[in-house]
Symmetry: C2
Subunit: 341 residues, 2 copies
C-alpha cells in the first residue's frame, strides 16, 4: 500500500499541495471547479490525512489519556465504557492505563501519556496518592485534567463525583427506616475522599436519628476484596452480639460478609441487614440479593469526558478555562438483604 499524500494528489492534478489542502478543507479562495477535481480524486484514491503530520502541525493529537486504578472492576469498566463512548462521538480516541492503586504507577503512567502528547487526562486518584504535586504540575503546564470518582479538594480542576456523603447518608437512613438501630460500618481505605465521605454520611445519619455513634462499630477494610468482607464478618458479630445492620462501603466486601454469614447460619436480613455500595452486577445475583446504592459509572465516564472536552474547546478558542464540579446522582436500590420498609 503506497501512501496517498497531498503531494501525490497535487502532482497528478498539476496543482500545488497548498491548493489540494485548501480544496479539501473548503477554503473560500479555491474555485468550485478545482475543489470538485481534488475531492473526487482524493476520494477515489481513498486519501487519509497523515495524523502525525496533522498533530505536529496543529499541536493536538485528538487522543486523551484515561487512568484507572483497577481495570478489572465492574464500576471502572463502566467508566471506561462511558469515556470511550463519549470520546468517540467527539472524534477523540482514548488511551487507557492502570495505576494499580499505586502512587508511583500513577506518576509514571501520567508521564507516558504526556510523552505521547495526549490532549488531556482523565484521572481517578489511587488510594495511596496523598501528594498532588505531580497533578498540579500538569495543570500548571496547561494540560487539561479532569478528576473523576476519587478526587482531591486540593487540586484545582474539573471533577466528576458522586455525592458520597449523601449516598451514604441515604443508605444508612434506609437501614434505620427498616427498623435497624445498631448499625456497623465497613469503611474503605483511609485516604480516598470517597471513603471518608461515605463514613461521614453514615455518621451523620446516626446523629440525625439520635443514635449514638460508636467507634468500635467501624471496621476498616484496607482494600477492596471479597476476602476482606469474609474475614471481617465474624469479627463484627463477636465484638457486638446485638448488631442488626451493616453498611459496607462497597458491594464486593458486603458480598463477602453475606457469604460468611450464610456459612455461619446467620439470617440476612432477619438477624442482620446488609447494604452495599456501587450496584455491582454481582449484587443482583447473590442470595439474598444485595441492597445497595447505585453508582452510575457509565454516566460518570461520559460526564468526565464532556468536561474535558469543554476545557479543550475553551483552550482552542482562547477563552478562560472554567473548571466545573459535577455531582452524579445516586439512589438506594432496595433488595433482599435488608428488611422491607
Amino acid at each position: 500500500m503506497l501512501k496517498v499524500t497531498l503531494k501525490k494528489i497535487a502532482a497528478t492534478l498539476g496543482v500545488s499541495t497548498a491548493t489540494v489542502s485548501k480544496a479539501l478543507k473548503d477554503y473560500p479562495d479555491i474555485s468550485e471547479k478545482t475543489k470538485k477535481k481534488v475531492k473526487s480524486l482524493a476520494a477515489s484514491l481513498n486519501y487519509k490525512p497523515n495524523s502525525f503530520a496533522q498533530s505536529l502541525r496543529n499541536q493536538e493529537s485528538k487522543i486523551i489519556g484515561l487512568i484507572i486504578p483497577t481495570i478489572v472492576h465492574h464500576f471502572f469498566s463502566n467508566i471506561i465504557y462511558g469515556v470511550i463512548d463519549s470520546a468517540s462521538e467527539h472524534g477523540y480516541l482514548v488511551i487507557t492505563l492502570q495505576s494499580n492503586e499505586s502512587y508511583e504507577d500513577e506518576k509514571n503512567k501520567i508521564n507516558l501519556l504526556i510523552e505521547k502528547n495526549v490532549d488531556g487526562i482523565l484521572l481517578s486518584l489511587s488510594d495511596k496518592t496523598v501528594n498532588y504535586k505531580h497533578i498540579n504540575r500538569l495543570i500548571d503546564d496547561g494540560v487539561p485534567v479532569v478528576l473523576y470518582d476519587k478526587i482531591s479538594r486540593s487540586v484545582n480542576c474539573s471533577k466528576v463525583i458522586i455525592n458520597d456523603f449523601a449516598a451514604a447518608f441515604n443508605a444508612t437512613q434506609y437501614l434505620i427506616d427498616t427498623g435497624c438501630k445498631k448499625i456497623a460500618h465497613i469503611r474503605g481505605p483511609l485516604k480516598p475522599q470517597t471513603t471518608i465521605d461515605r463514613f461521614m454520611g453514615y455518621k451523620k445519619a446516626l446523629e440525625v436519628n439520635n443514635i449514638l455513634f460508636d467507634d468500635s462499630l467501624v471496621y476498616v477494610s484496607d482494600s477492596l476484596s471479597f476476602e476482606n468482607g469474609y474475614n471481617i464478618a465474624p469479627k463484627i458479630i463477636n465484638d457486638h452480639t446485638d448488631v442488626d445492620a451493616i453498611f459496607s462501603f462497597t458491594d464486593l466486601v458486603a458480598t463477602g460478609v453475606l457469604i460468611r454469614f450464610k456459612e455461619l447460619g446467620i439470617l440476612v436480613p432477619e438477624q442482620i441487614s446488609i447494604i452495599g455500595f456501587s450496584n455491582w452486577f454481582l449484587s443482583k445475583i447473590t442470595s439474598p440479593t444485595l441492597s445497595t446504592v447505585d453508582q452510575p459509572g457509565y454516566e460518570m465516564g461520559r460526564k468526565a469526558f464532556t468536561l474535558l472536552y469543554n476545557e479543550l474547546n475553551q483552550i482552542r478558542n482562547g477563552e478562560p478555562i472554567k473548571h466545573e464540579i459535577v455531582e452524579i446522582a445516586t439512589k438506594v436500590i432496595p433488595r433482599n438483604s435488608t428488611k422491607p420498609i
Copy 2:
C-alpha cells in the same frame, strides 16, 4: 510551559540540532564531552522528544489498537488488562474501542484506528461478523493484526484462542463422570467459532461416552445475558423432565438458570447439575457456587500483544512475517453446582 525542543537545546549550547539529537542517542561520532553537555542540559530542562515529530519521521506510533466486543464484561476486562500490561512493558500504549458485537461498528472502529496510524490491531470478531474482507484488506495493506478469542479460520494472521472444543469436551465429560446421563446444552450465538466449538466439544463427549445426541436438548441463547438463562431454565425442565445436567456456554447464563431453579425449588446439584464457562468472578459467589471452566483472559491478552509485538519486530527487521496460532490452556473448576466425582 514553553516547549523544550532539540533546537532550543542546540541554541543554548551553540551546537546544531543534529548534534543534540545524535548525542542523546549515543551516536559514536559525537565526543563524550559534548554528549555529557547535551545530556545534562536535556535532563535539567526535562526535555521530552515530540512524539509527533518522531512518529512522522519514523513512521511508527508506538500505539496499538484493541477492539473489544463488550468492555463491561469480566472476561474482556481481563483481556484489556493483559494487553495493556504487556504493551506497557514493551513501550507501547493501547487505544481501546468497542465493537458492540456489531459488524458495522467493527469496520468503523478499525478505520478510526487506521486513521490514527496505530502500529497494529488486536481484534476479537463481533458475533455478527461473517465477512472478513475488511480484515483481509488490512492485512494486505501491511497492518499487523492479531485475532484473539473470537477468530475466523479464513483470516490469515496470528491468533490467540482457547481450545473451546477441548474445554467443552472436558466440561461435559466432567458432568458424565459425576454420573449425569441426560445433559442439556445452552449454546451461544450461532456464528462465532467459539460457540460452535463448544457445541462440538459437548457433542463429542456424548459420543465418546455412548450417549445419544438429542437435538432437542440444545437451547440457543442468542446473547450473553442473565435473563436468557433465567428464561431458558423453565423451558428445559418442561421439555425434558429427566434432564440431570446442563452445560452452559457461559457463566452468566448458567447463573440465570441457577437462580431460576432456586425459585422453582429445583435442587442443584441434587436434581440437576450445572456447569458454566469462563470462570467469571460471579461464579464464586452464587449459591451454590458454580462449577465452570477457567478461561484466562489476562493470559490471552498478554499473549495477543506478544504475538503482535513479534510481528512488529519482524517487519522492522525486514524479516518475513511468521503467523502464530497459540492455544491457551483451560481447566474445569469443580464447585458446588455439580455433584462430587
